[in-house]
C-alpha cells in the first residue's frame, strides 16, 4: 500500500498548480452587474461612454495624449491643417468598417497641436456615427444595447472590436440605487460591484474594497459671492468623521495628485475671518440631495459651521437656491481640462493663465467653495477580476470567475 500511495500523491500534487493556474486565467463570458447611486444615465456618462464611443486620441495615466483611433498625425503646412490618420479596420458596432470621409481627418492648424490633442481626447469629441433608429454607432469594445435614462444601461460586447473582444459578454449598470439597496443586492449576489460609504471601508475586507484616487470634488457652488463661508467650514471634521479619513480635505479645486499645487490653497478654519467677511450677510439658501446620507450630513455640517460664524444657511428645495452642494468628477488627467469642466459645471468662465492662476481666479470669485476630494469607493465581488478604481471603468479588462460565454 505504501508504495502506490506516494506516487499517487505526487501525481496529485502536480495537478494542483495546474488547476490553480486555470482559475487565474481570464475567461470570456459573464455579465458584470454594477450599481451606482447616481440618478442619471446618459450617453456621455464618464464611467462607460468611452468604452462605447472612442476618441481619436486618449490621455494616458500621466495625462499625455496617445494615439487611439488616430494612429498618427502630421502637419500639412501647405493647407494649414493638422492631418490625422485613422486606424484601419476599425469596426463599428454594426460590423461595418469605420471610414472617415476623404480617408483622413483634418483640423485647421490655428490651434496648437497640444491643445488640439487635449480637445480630441475629450469624450465629447468621441467618434459617433448616427443611425436612423437607435443610438449612434461607436467603435468601442462595448456597444450600447439598452439605455433607459435614469435607470438602466446595458452594454454588450463588441465582437469585432479592433483591439480584441472584451472578456465580458455584457455590462449591466443600474442607476439610482441607494447604498443600502446596493448592499442588499450585493449580499444576495444580485450585484457584482457596488458603491460603499466611507464608514464601510473599515468594516469590509481589504480584498473587497476598491479605493481609487480622489477623483470627485465635493464643493459648494454659489450663484453669487459668499464671503466668509469658506473660512467658517471645518473641513478636517468632515474628512475625519464623515469620510472616515477617505480622500482629503481641500481648499483647492484640483486634487494634489493632478495639479501638484493643492497645498497652496489652505484649509484652515478661521472663524474671526469668517465673521469679519460675512458680517451683515443675508440668510442664504442651500440645496443638496437629501436622499444621499453623506451629502446630507455634509450639508448639515456646513450649515452648523456657518451658523457659528454668524452666517445663516437654510435648506431649500428646487434649483433656485443661493448655494448647491455638488459632487464634480475630476473628468480628465489634464489639469486644464479638468479645471475647465469644473468651471463649466458651476457656470463660471475659465480664466486664462496657468493652472495656479486659473484656479486662484476661480476661487477668488467666491462662487465655488471646495470642501473635499473624495475617491469613489467600491465593493467588488471577489469573482470579479481586473476592476480598478478609475474613471472611466476599465470594462474591457474585467473578467469574472466561472463565467461562461453566451452562445
Amino acid at each position: 500500500m505504501r508504495r502506490t500511495t506516494f506516487p499517487l500523491l505526487a501525481a496529485l500534487s502536480l495537478l494542483v498548480p495546474a488547476f490553480s493556474l486555470a482559475q487565474r486565467r481570464p475567461v470570456y463570458g459573464g455579465t458584470l452587474r454594477v450599481e451606482v447611486r447616481a440618478r442619471s444615465a446618459a450617453e456621455d456618462s464618464l464611467e462607460w461612454s468611452s468604452r462605447v464611443y472612442e476618441t481619436l486620441v486618449r490621455l494616458d495615466d500621466a495625462g499625455r495624449p496617445v494615439p487611439h483611433l488616430a494612429v498618427s498625425w502630421s502637419h500639412d503646412e501647405q493647407r494649414g491643417l493638422w492631418v490625422f490618420q485613422p486606424r484601419h479596420g476599425v469596426q463599428l458596432h454594426d460590423g461595418s468598417i469605420w471610414t472617415p470621409i476623404a480617408g483622413s481627418l483634418v483640423f485647421p492648424d490655428k490651434q496648437p497641436l497640444p491643445g488640439l490633442l487635449l480637445e480630441l481626447a475629450r469624450q465629447g469629441n468621441a467618434i459617433k456615427v448616427p443611425q436612423t433608429e437607435g443610438p449612434p454607432l461607436g467603435t468601442g469594445p462595448f456597444r450600447l444595447e439598452q439605455l433607459d435614462p435614469g435607470r438602466t444601461v446595458v452594454l454588450a460586447a463588441h465582437d469585432g472590436y479592433w483591439n480584441g473582444r472584451p472578456f465580458l459578454d455584457r455590462v449591466e449598470i443600474l442607476y439610482g440605487r441607494a447604498l443600502r439597496d446596493q448592499a442588499v443586492d450585493f449580499e444576495l449576489d444580485k450585484a457584482d460591484v457596488i458603491e460603499i460609504a466611507p464608514a464601510e471601508v473599515r468594516r469590509l475586507r481589504r480584498s473587497e474594497v476598491s479605493i481609487g484616487r480622489p477623483s470627485l470634488l465635493i464643493a459648494l457652488a454659489a450663484s453669487h459671492p459668499v464671503r466668509g463661508l469658506s473660512a467658517a467650514i471645518d473641513r478636517s471634521s468632515l474628512h475625519a468623521v464623515l469620510l472616515q479619513r477617505q480622500g482629503e480635505p481641500t481648499g483647492s479645486l484640483l486634487p494634489q495628485w493632478l495639479s501638484g499645487i493643492a497645498f497652496l490653497f489652505p484649509v484652515i478654519r478661521d472663524m474671526d475671518a469668517a465673521r469679519a467677511a460675512g458680517a451683515g450677510a443675508l440668510p442664504w439658501t442651500i440645496q443638496y440631495d437629501t436622499h444621499e446620507p453623506l451629502l446630507r450630513a455634509i450639508a448639515e455640517r456646513v450649515i452648523l459651521n456657518a451658523s457659528e460664524a454668524g452666517l445663516t444657511l437654510r435648506p431649500a428645495a428646487g434649483n433656485n437656491a443661493d448655494l448647491r452642494l455638488v459632487v464634480l468628477p475630476i473628468s480628465s488627467s489634464d489639469p486644464g481640462a479638468a479645471l475647465a469642466d469644473i468651471a463649466a459645471a458651476v457656470n463660471l468662465p475659465v480664466p486664462a493663465g496657468d493652472t495656479y492662476s486659473s484656479e486662484r481666479a476661480l476661487l477668488d470669485t467666491q462662487r465655488i467653495v471646495p470642501l473635499l476630494h473624495v475617491p469613489v469607493l467600491h465593493r467588488v465581488n471577489p469573482r470579479v477580476h481586473g476592476w480598478r478604481p478609475t474613471s472611466p471603468w476599465p470594462l474591457e479588462e474585467i473578467w469574472i470567475d466561472g463565467a461562461v460565454t453566451r452562445p
Binding site: 464608514a199 468623521v241 472616515q244 446630507r296 448639515e300 455640517r301 450649515i303
Partner: protein, 581 residues
C-alpha cells in the same frame, strides 16, 4: 289704558317673568353642571396624560439603559478610555441603535457633552448635545420633557439619560428621546367630545390627527399661558361658528422655568349649546303659551271683575243722567256683589231723597204759591173789601151819593175782580201747560218771527246760524219760551241795553243763547231762578222762567244761566234736534 288691559298685561308679564326666571335658572344650572362635567373630563385627561407620560418616560429610560449596555456603546466606552480616543468610526452608530431600539432621537456623547454620534442630526458630531442639562436630567434619573435640537428646529420630546462606563471610569453618555407627537395625543383621547391638542414652541398645534390647520382661535389662550406660565381656560369658537364652540383648558409644560409646550384639553360645548338652545326655545314656546294663557286668564279674570264694575259705571251714568230707577245686578256674594248692592241701596236712597226733596220743593213751592197767591189775592181783595164796606156803609146811611158810590164801587169791584180773574188765569195756565205737540220746526225762522213780534218794544240783535236748524219741537211752546226770555231780559234792562239772541248747534243739540246787558244775577239768584213763583222783580208772578224751564224739560233739553251782577245775563238752552215724542 283700561283696567282690563292693565290686568291682562300684568298677568302676562307675571307669567312671562316667571318663565324667564325659570329658564334662566335652569340654563344656569345646566351650565354649572356641564362645567362640572368638563372639569371631571379634563381632570381625567390630565391624569391620563401624566400616566402616559410616565409610562412612555419609563420606556425611554429603559431603552436608554439597554442602549448603554449594547456592545457598540460598550466599545465606545472602551474607546473613550484610550489616551487619544478616535470616535470618528462611530459617527453612524447612533442611527443604527436608534432604529433598532425604536427611539426617535439618540445622541451618544462624551462625558464633556460633545456628541460622538447623533441618530437624528448626524452633522452635530463634536457639538454639545444641549438637551439634557437640567438638574433633573442626571444620568440614570427619570425621563424628562425637553426640546431636542434638530435640523429645522428643536423638537419636543421625552428624554432620558444614561451612562456607559468602562474600565478607567470614563465612558459615554446615552441620551435617548421619543417625540411627543400625534401618536402620543391619540393615546390620550378616549372620551367622545374631548380633544387633546399640543401647542409646541415651534408654533404649531398638534391634534390626534396631525397638525391643526388653523390654530389662530387658540392664540389668545396660548398667549396668556406663555405670559403667565399658569393654566388657563377659555371658550374658543372655531371658524367663527357658535355651533363649534369648545371649552379649552391649557396646561403649561415647563422645564427649568422654560415653557416647552402647552397641553390643551378641549371639551365640546355642542351638547351644552344644544341643550341651552333647546331650553331657550322651550322657554320661548312656553312663554308664548304662557302669554296666551295669561291673556285668556286675564281676560276671563278681568271679565269677572270689570263687568260688574262696568255695570256699576253704567248704572252711575244712568243715575247721573236722571234715571234713578237704574239698578245693577249683583250676581256674586263677594266684594263686587256687595258693591253692587251698595250701589243699588245708594240709588234707592237717592231716589228717596230726591222724592223727599221733590216733596219738600213741592211743599216749598206750594207754600210759595200760597204766599204768592195770598199776596196776589190780598191786593185785589182789600179794595174789594173796602168797596163793599163803603157800599154797605153808604146804604146804611142812605147816602145821597149812594148811586155815585154804587157806581164807583161796582167799577172798582169789577176791576179788582178782573184782576183776580187774571191772576187765577195765569195760575191756571201754568198749572195746565199742555203736553208739547212735536213737529219739525226751523228754529231760525221761529226765532226771527218771535223777535219781530217784540221788535216794537225792544231792540233785539239776532245772530243766527246761516244754515237752517231743524228740530222736533212744539213751535207754540218754543215761542212762549222765547217770549218769556225776551220779556225777562227787557225787564232786566229798565234803562235800556242790548238784547241778543243767537242760534247754533252743539253736539246734536240746537243751541239758543239769549243775552242781555241788564242788572245781572247773583249766584244765589241763579240757583233759584227756575223755582216757580220766584222772582226778582217787584211785580210779576215769577212763573215766566218756570214756564221756560218746563218747556225745556218737556223737550228733554237743558237750560243754564250765566250771569254777573252788573254785567248782564245769558240764558243758554240746548234742545235735542231729534225729538223725544
Amino acid at each position: 289704558m283700561t283696567f282690563r288691559t292693565k290686568l291682562i298685561l300684568v298677568t302676562s308679564l307675571t307669567v312671562t317673568g316667571a318663565i324667564a326666571l325659570v329658564t334662566g335658572a335652569v340654563s344656569a344650572g345646566i351650565r354649572r353642571t356641564f362645567e362640572s362635567i368638563d372639569a371631571s373630563r379634563r381632570a381625567a385627561v390630565l391624569e391620563r396624560f401624566r400616566e402616559e407620560l410616565a409610562a412612555q418616560g419609563e420606556q425611554v429610560v429603559r431603552t436608554a439603559a439597554r442602549i448603554a449596555a449594547a456592545d457598540a456603546v460598550q466599545r465606545l466606552a472602551v474607546e473613550s478610555n484610550r489616551a487619544e480616543p478616535d470616535f470618528a468610526p462611530y459617527v453612524s452608530e447612533a442611527q443604527a441603535l436608534a432604529e433598532a431600539h425604536g427611539l426617535d432621537f439618540l445622541d451618544l456623547a462624551r462625558m464633556d457633552g460633545r456628541i460622538i454620534s447623533s441618530a437624528h442630526y448626524m452633522a452635530r458630531f463634536g457639538y454639545p448635545h444641549g438637551w439634557a442639562l437640567g438638574e433633573g436630567d442626571a444620568p440614570g434619573g427619570g425621563a424628562f420633557l425637553t426640546r431636542i435640537p434638530a435640523q429645522i428646529a428643536p423638537v419636543l420630546a421625552l428624554g432620558a439619560r444614561h451612562r456607559a462606563t468602562a474600565g478607567g471610569g470614563k465612558g459615554v453618555e446615552v441620551l435617548g428621546g421619543r417625540r411627543l407627537d400625534v401618536s402620543f395625543l391619540k393615546a390620550l383621547e378616549s372620551a367622545p367630545g374631548v380633544r387633546v391638542l399640543l401647542w409646541r414652541a415651534e408654533g404649531d398645534v398638534l391634534n390626534a390627527h396631525g397638525t391643526l390647520e388653523n390654530p389662530t382661535s387658540l392664540a389668545p389662550l396660548i398667549e396668556d399661558v406663555r405670559r403667565t406660565h399658569k393654566p388657563g381656560v377659555r371658550q374658543v369658537e372655531w371658524n367663527g361658528s357658535a355651533a363649534k364652540r369648545e371649552s379649552v383648558y391649557a396646561q403649561p409644560l415647563e422645564k427649568d422655568g422654560a415653557l416647552l409646550a402647552v397641553l390643551l384639553v378641549a371639551t365640546s360645548l355642542d351638547d351644552q349649546v344644544r341643550l341651552e338652545r333647546s331650553i331657550l326655545y322651550t322657554g320661548l314656546g312656553v312663554g308664548a303659551v304662557g302669554i296666551l294663557l295669561g291673556v285668556l286668564i286675564g281676560w276671563w279674570t278681568t271679565a269677572r271683575v270689570t263687568h260688574p264694575v262696568a255695570e256699576l259705571v253704567r248704572g252711575a251714568r244712568a243715575v247721573a243722567a236722571g234715571d234713578y230707577e237704574a239698578r245693577v245686578v249683583a250676581l256674586s256674594t263677594d266684594e263686587l256683589g256687595e258693591l253692587a248692592r251698595a250701589f243699588n241701596h245708594m240709588t234707592a236712597q237717592l231716589v228717596a231723597q230726591r222724592d223727599r226733596a221733590v216733596q219738600a220743593e213741592r211743599v216749598a213751592a206750594w207754600r210759595e204759591l200760597a204766599r204768592r197767591l195770598a199776596h196776589e189775592l190780598k191786593n185785589p181783595l182789600f179794595p174789594l173789601q173796602i168797596t163793599v164796606e163803603n157800599l154797605r156803609k153808604a146804604h146804611q146811611v142812605r147816602s145821597a151819593d149812594f148811586d155815585e158810590i154804587l157806581r164807583e164801587s161796582t167799577s172798582t169791584l169789577l176791576v179788582e175782580l178782573a184782576n183776580l180773574k187774571s191772576i187765577t188765569a195765569r195760575f191756571s195756565d201754568f198749572a195746565k201747560m199742555p203736553a208739547p205737540r212735536f213737529e219739525s220746526v226751523e228754529l231760525n225762522e221761529l226765532t226771527r218771527q218771535t223777535a219781530r213780534l217784540h221788535a216794537p218794544t225792544v231792540d233785539i240783535k239776532l245772530d243766527l246760524l246761516p244754515e237752517a236748524i231743524r228740530l222736533d219741537a212744539d213751535p207754540e211752546q218754543l215761542r212762549r219760551m222765547l217770549t218769556n226770555l225776551i220779556l225777562n231780559a227787557r225787564d232786566a234792562m229798565p234803562d235800556g241795553g242790548e238784547l241778543s239772541i243767537a242760534t247754533g248747534l252743539n253736539d246734536g243739540h240746537a243751541r239758543i243763547r239769549v243775552s242781555d246787558t241788564g242788572q245781572g244775577l247773583s249766584t244765589e239768584e241763579c240757583e233759584r231762578l227756575f223755582t216757580p213763583y220766584y222772582t226778582t222783580k217787584q211785580h210779576g208772578t215769577g212763573l215766566g222762567l218756570a214756564i221756560v224751564q218746563s218747556v225745556v224739560s218737556d223737550h228733554r233739553g237743558r237750560i243754564s244761566v250765566a250771569s254777573e251782577p252788573g254785567r248782564g245775563t245769558t240764558f243758554i238752552i240746548d234742545l235735542p234736534l231729534k225729538g223725544t215724542s
